[in-house]
Symmetry: C2
Subunit: 445 residues, 2 copies
Amino acid sequence: MPKKIDLMVESCRRLLRKGAKGHLENLLSKLHPADIAAVLGRLNRQERDAIFAMLPPETAAKALVDMDSLLQTKLMEDMPTKELAEVLSHLPADEAVGLVDNLPEEKKEEILPLIEGREGVSRLMLYEEETAGRIMTTDYLALPEELTVEEAIERVRESKEKEVFYIYVVDSRNHLVGVLSLRQLILADPNTKLKEVMNPEVISVRADMDQEEVARIVARYDILAVPVVDEGNHLIGMVTVDDVINIIQDEATEDIYKMVGASEEELWEASTLKIAGYRLPWLAFTIVGEMLSGLVLKHYHNTIATMVSVSFFVPLIMALSGAVGNQTQTIIVRAMATGRMEGMAWKILRRQLSVGALMGLAAGTLACVMVMVVQHNHLLGISVGVSLLISMSISAVIGVVVPTMAKKMGVDPALTVPSIATLNDIMGTLIYLSLATYLLTTLPQ
Amino acid sequence: MPKKIDLMVESCRRLLRKGAKGHLENLLSKLHPADIAAVLGRLNRQERDAIFAMLPPETAAKALVDMDSLLQTKLMEDMPTKELAEVLSHLPADEAVGLVDNLPEEKKEEILPLIEGREGVSRLMLYEEETAGRIMTTDYLALPEELTVEEAIERVRESKEKEVFYIYVVDSRNHLVGVLSLRQLILADPNTKLKEVMNPEVISVRADMDQEEVARIVARYDILAVPVVDEGNHLIGMVTVDDVINIIQDEATEDIYKMVGASEEELWEASTLKIAGYRLPWLAFTIVGEMLSGLVLKHYHNTIATMVSVSFFVPLIMALSGAVGNQTQTIIVRAMATGRMEGMAWKILRRQLSVGALMGLAAGTLACVMVMVVQHNHLLGISVGVSLLISMSISAVIGVVVPTMAKKMGVDPALTVPSIATLNDIMGTLIYLSLATYLLTTLPQ
């Protein structure tokens, strides 16, 4: 519905220009918070702040949750700490903590004391960021197993939770023992006990489980929410499918950013200088690495001086071995992120290696022929062709081995992608120039 | 729960070796279909086929749906068409069509006539692949607006739909007029009519809407399912959140593959030769492109012959301008895919351009100093530094402009990423060598 949003943006702008505050408030009160969030995203800072200030705190809070994280952070940073705390107080603890977790450290430290008093918040803060315990909602419905279905339906009617997906069943010591859906509850005989109608095979996650793993479980079992338990299997929360969608979306974006040497922080950052700063370590690494490629060329400067045409094919070697390495590595990293490597590692590794070698053979042959045709030099053609075969095969091996080892060592595999590109360049140049030197200048002509 | 899966894989293998069919069937009957799917993914082809053949058709069907798409296709291809049709008959129309859509063309044409007789299937086939109409389920609950709440609850009890998220309310001509959740239904006064308690602001999608857009709407409004309507606003289906999760996951993976010049088809392909074949067009393009980079070097061969050290910094120029272009383009393509560009295009463009220029300035300065120190040649240092500044800035511009134009022209922006890398190489080499030639050989020394 992008068209609908366009219209709303226009109306808001017009009313804002006219100073028609009453009409504007009336219009905003009719919009879905997610639409308000989308509208705010299209306005400039001045318009945005004016309209956001106009929203009742409850609507502002909901719109904030539905917003792009970049915009979220900007609006929260612009807001006085007290007003922000007021807005956050209208949100369930998990959503308030989620918003605060996205803030820069200083602002976070300012706001935390103001919301930590709330019961739910302090409990969530016990867990690490990006774990089930940190993102769970405590807004779930748990009922004792001894309740009858009729009593349970009465409890659902009385419960203040916004939306009930599942009813979790607990024993007298709050151990999670079963689950049933609202529809199953309606279908059941009103006089039976919950423990007789519930499904005892309940899928749950531990509070310290990484959020990506939680998302995978919700996706795998096609469930709308997963209960969160502590070490003793006591029910302490629930992660819902809308959080899971955000996790899947955000984790993919973060991985993509990391794979090109950009930082995920960049997403929430508006300052050009800071963004460039985030990319600086990788930039410096590339400069040093490519200086090493330069040293390789320098080492073989006699070859280049004797036959300038050797230098013409350095870009080809670099581009092709770099690209195969990048492909292989990217595919492996993504397979890891989506859980596709689990138990498939060897199959995927073997496949990527054969593809790399086969492409090296194809590209090597093609390039060899082209060089022979263009330069009329068979030995140069063979140097280029054989170097491509070797360096593309090695790139594929590196592209498989490095992220696999990184994961084993607890390093994020996505981070290895940009640095390996540089190493591939050094390796490709070295293989090509040493081979060309041997074939073209050392061998008796 | 990867550990749990490991244990199951071991048990299945052991029982299979012992030929303990009864025990194995007993074990499998206790597993969740999603777990069976995960176990099958870890077995070799022989074990997998043996166990899959052992499953009752209904379980086989469910496991198939929960499986990785690569494995899905393999198992279906190995199965005789008639048996496959039998298995598919145990699935709702939308899931059967989804599975068939993943098959290679020949197998698809074989199986389609066998399932097209089913009412739901022929209706889904009216719509294009990857649209709301093709992926929707017809397994939803729609009730007339004139019904009372009490009658509606009775209908929910009688309905055969597996799970009810929302109750859609329609008028006498099947127009979608409202929605309410099961919990809202339970809370309402039994004697009121649905049209009085329903929420008339129902979010719906048109049957011809692209599935990515559908996923964005479900994610934006945090809903569990979205009703699908035809041009006349008649209710014809529903897309559920579990489908949305798969779409988001798969679209991200496809984009990542395309961005490195690999094909999404590769995901479902086991043959090394075919995978290499998918990557061939991009490979050929790179070879031709880098031959052009070679021609640039050849054009300036006098410069290189006069001063071999000019060639040492070609890798640096290529790597840095290529990397900035790749970063910029990747970030823009991802922003488009996640809907972040909507209305933000200019902000994002400006930001990427300034970041590119700033990085060019930083890298150019640093490289200039390093070249001066290493080569003791100020003019060479200036050539490298200034070329980096210019080529990195241009790369950023290209990285922003090309995917934006591609999208306007209806070309998938992700596909432009690998080709632009090659163009950046040619451009970088050209800028550097022409500048170096001018400064080092043309200028009076």
